[in-house]
Amino acid sequence: MTQVAIVGTGQTVHARRRTDVSQAGLAREAVVEALNDAGLTMDDIDSIVVASGPAMFGSVNQPEKWLVDALGARYKPVVRVTSGGGTGLAGALAAVNQIKGGSARRVLVVAYDKLSEGPLQANISTLYDPFWGREFAVGIMGFSAAYWHARMKRLGHTEEAAAMVSVKNRHNSMLNPKAHVKREVTVEEVLASRPLCWPIKILDVPPISDGACAVILAADADAEAITPTPAWIHGISYVGEADNAPDRSMLQSEPLQIAAMKVYKEAGITNPFRQFDVAELQEPYTCFELSYYEGLGFCPEGGAAELIASGETTMEGSLPVNPSGGCMGANPIGATALIRLAEVAMQVTGKAGAHQVKGAQRGVAQAGGGWANLRGVAVVGAEKR
C-alpha cells in the first residue's frame, strides 16, 4: 500500500495586511520556503494543487492562472480546490489521491488567502442560499454563535470554557514566529471583551489575515530520497453532509465524527487522547475547539469544558492542542487548514522550533469548511506504517 508523506513545508510571514506583495507574490513566498525545506526546485514538482478560499474573498476568479506564472509552473498540471476553512486539507487530500492514483510523484499544495482585500463577513454570507437565509446571515459568525449558545445548555460549553481556549492559544502564539497576533489574555479579559455576536466576543475571534502555506508530498522511496524525516500521513479524510436535512440539531458535527472514524480506522487509533502527542485544530472561534474535542473523541460528549479546564491540552498537558496558537495567531482562511497540517508535520519531525512538543511522534490535524457541513481530519506520524 502506497504511503504518502509530507516532505517539505513553508509559510509566509502572516499579517493583517501585506501591502508589499500581490496575491500571487504571497503564495510564492510560501512555495519558495517549502521548496527550500525539501531541497527541491520547481523542476522536481510533477503537479500543483492551488487551494484558496471563495473567489469573492479576493475578487479574482481562477487565481491559479496568476499563481502558475509567479511560481514558474507553466505547463505543469494544476487544479484549484476550494472548501472554506477546510480548503488546505481538501487540497492535501487531492494531492494524496494524485500520488496514490499514480498520476504524479511529487505534488505541491499551495494554500493562501489575502483577506485584507475584501469585506469578509459579507463575502462569507454569499455561501448561503440566496432564497433561504442569505439576507439574514451574519457571515459564519451569527451561525457559529447560535449553535455555541445551543451547546452551552446541552453540553456545558460555557463562556468560561471557551475563554480558556483563547487564553491557551494566544499564549502558544507567543512562541510561534509565523503568528502575527501576539498578545496574552486572561479569562476575565476574554469574558469582559466586546460582544460581536454574543456569546462570541472579540477575544473569542481570531485575526483576519493575509497568509499562505505550502506543503510538498511524495510517497515511499520518493519521500525517503527527499528527506530523512518524512512526516507520514497515516490517514486523511474529508466529509460533507446535507445543508438543511431534517431533525439536525448540530450539537455535534456528524461529518467530523465520520471523518475521524474513517481516519482512525486507517491509522489504528483506538484511544485518540492517549495515542496522539499533539493536535492542530482549526478554530475559527474559540467555541469550535471545544466542539472538536468531542467530535475527535478526546473526551466524551459534554466533556470538553472539563478537558480544557484540566490543562491537559496546554503545552504542559498530555495532549497539547494548537501549540502554534492555532487560528488565534493568524487566520488566512484558505491557508489555515494546510497550516494545521504543516504544523503537525513539523511537530512529528521535530522541526517546530520554539513551540515544539517534546518527543512528538504522532498527531492529528483537523479543519472544516462551509459553516458546519464539511470536515477534514488527518493523522500524521514520524513512523512509516
Binding site: R17, R18, T19, D20, V21, S22, Q23, A24, G25, R28, M42, M56, G58, S59, D69, A70, L71, G72, A73, R74, S116, E117, G118, P119, Q121, A122, N123, S125, T126, Y128, P130, F131, W132, G133, E135, F136, A137, V138, G142, F143, A145, A146, Y147, W148, H149, A150, K153, P195, L196, C197, W198, I200, A242, N244, A245, P246, D247, R248, S249, M250
Partner: protein, 314 residues
C-alpha cells in the same frame, strides 16, 4: 394535493415569478505588488516601465517572470510606442495587444483614435496619456493611438528616481444575478406572497416535512411527494445576539439571529427575532423559546415578507 399537481401551479406562476434578481456590490482594496505598483505610480509621470527577467522585458512591469517564476532583476524604461499584434472591436471600442518596442510580451490595452478600417496588424501606435490621471489606475494610460510624430528609443536600464509603489487600489465589483425559483421555491414563495401560506414537501418514507420544499428527503433519499402546510409559529433551535455592523446588514444591531424550526417542519429557517432587548435576549430568545412571524406590509415573495419573528410570551 400531490407535488405533481402543484408543479403545474408553479409553472403557471412562473410567468411573473420566474427568477429573483440579486445584485452583489463588493468593495475591495487590492494589492498590486511591488513591480506593478511602481508601474502604475509612474504613469502620471508619463513613463512606461517594464521589468527585466534575463533576456525578457515585460510591460507592465511584473514581480515574477511567467516563463521561469524568477523575480525581476531590475526595471527598464521603455519608449511608449509599439506595434499592434492583434485587435478586436465591439460597440464599446477596440482592444488590442501591443508589443512595446524592445519588450518580449504584448500589453493588452485600448486602441483609440483610429479611422474605421485604418487599423491593421503591424500598425505602429503611441501611448495616449489620460488628461485627468488619478495616480492609481492603469487608465492613467488611456490607451494607444496613431503614432504621429512619436519617436522610439532602446529600453533604458535602471531608470533613476522611481516612484514609490502604489500599495492599494480601490475597486468595486458589481455582479448581477438572476436566481431561478424553480418549481419548489416558486410554489412556496407564490403562497407566501399572495396568501401568507408557508408550505414544505413531505417525505414519502419518514413523513418529515422539508422546508424549503425539495424533491428528495436528505435523510432517506426517498421522494418527497406531497405538499404540507407549515405554521408561522415555531421554536428557536439556535440563537445569537448580533452587535457587529457589516456591509449589507438588513437591520441596525443589536438584534437576535435565530435558526427557527417552524411548527410542522423538520428543518431550519434563518431569520431575526425583533423587539427584544439585547441583554434580555440571552435568556428570553434562547434555544427552545417560542416565536411567531410578524408579516411585513411588503409582498415580495421572499423570506423578507416576514418582517421579523416575535417572542410568544407565555
Amino acid at each position: 394535493m400531490t407535488l405533481t399537481d402543484t408543479t403545474e401551479v408553479a409553472r403557471s406562476s412562473a410567468e411573473n415569478m420566474h427568477y429573483m434578481p440579486a445584485q452583489l456590490t463588493i468593495p475591495y482594496t487590492l494589492t498590486p505588488g511591488q513591480a506593478t505598483g511602481i508601474f502604475i505610480a509612474e504613469l502620471v509621470n508619463k513613463r512606461l516601465l517594464g521589468s527585466r527577467h534575463g533576456d525578457e522585458i515585460i510591460v507592465p512591469a511584473q514581480d515574477f517572470s511567467g516563463s521561469t517564476g524568477e523575480p525581476a532583476s531590475g526595471f527598464v524604461e521603455v519608449a511608449p510606442v509599439g506595434e499592434v499584434q492583434a485587435f478586436t472591436t465591439n460597440a464599446k471600442g477596440t482592444l488590442g495587444l501591443v508589443l512595446i518596442d524592445g519588450t518580449t510580451t504584448p500589453f493588452l490595452h485600448k486602441l483609440v483614435g483610429f479611422e474605421p478600417g485604418s487599423l491593421e496588424i503591424g500598425t505602429r501606435v503611441a501611448a495616449i496619456w489620460s488628461e485627468s490621471p488619478t495616480g492609481n489606475s492603469v487608465l492613467d494610460l488611456a490607451g494607444f493611438g496613431p503614432i504621429g510624430e512619436a519617436g522610439t528609443f532602446e529600453p533604458k536600464s535602471d531608470p533613476e528616481g522611481l516612484a514609490e509603489p502604489i500599495e492599494q487600489i480601490d475597486y468595486t465589483m458589481t455582479l448581477d444575478f438572476k436566481h431561478a425559483y424553480g418549481a419548489y421555491y416558486g410554489t412556496l414563495f407564490d403562497g407566501v406572497e399572495t396568501g401568507r401560506r408557508i408550505r414544505g414537501s413531505k417525505c414519502s418514507k419518514c413523513r418529515r416535512v422539508l422546508l424549503p420544499p425539495r424533491a428528495v428527503c436528505d435523510s432517506c433519499f426517498a421522494p418527497a411527494t406531497e405538499w404540507a402546510d407549515v405554521a408561522d409559529t415555531g421554536t428557536i433551535q439556535a440563537s445569537s445576539v448580533v452587535h457587529i455592523e457589516f456591509l449589507g446588514q438588513r437591520k441596525q444591531p443589536p438584534y437576535v439571529y435565530a435558526e427557527i424550526v417552524l411548527d410542522g417542519a423538520s428543518t431550519r429557517l434563518i431569520h431575526i427575532v425583533g423587539d427584544v432587548d439585547a441583554e434580555r435576549a440571552k435568556t428570553a430568545a434562547a434555544p427552545g423559546a417560542r416565536v411567531r412571524a410578524v408579516w411585513s406590509d411588503q409582498h415580495t415573495g421572499s423570506l423578507g415578507d416576514i418582517e421579523h419573528f416575535e417572542l410568544i410570551e407565555e
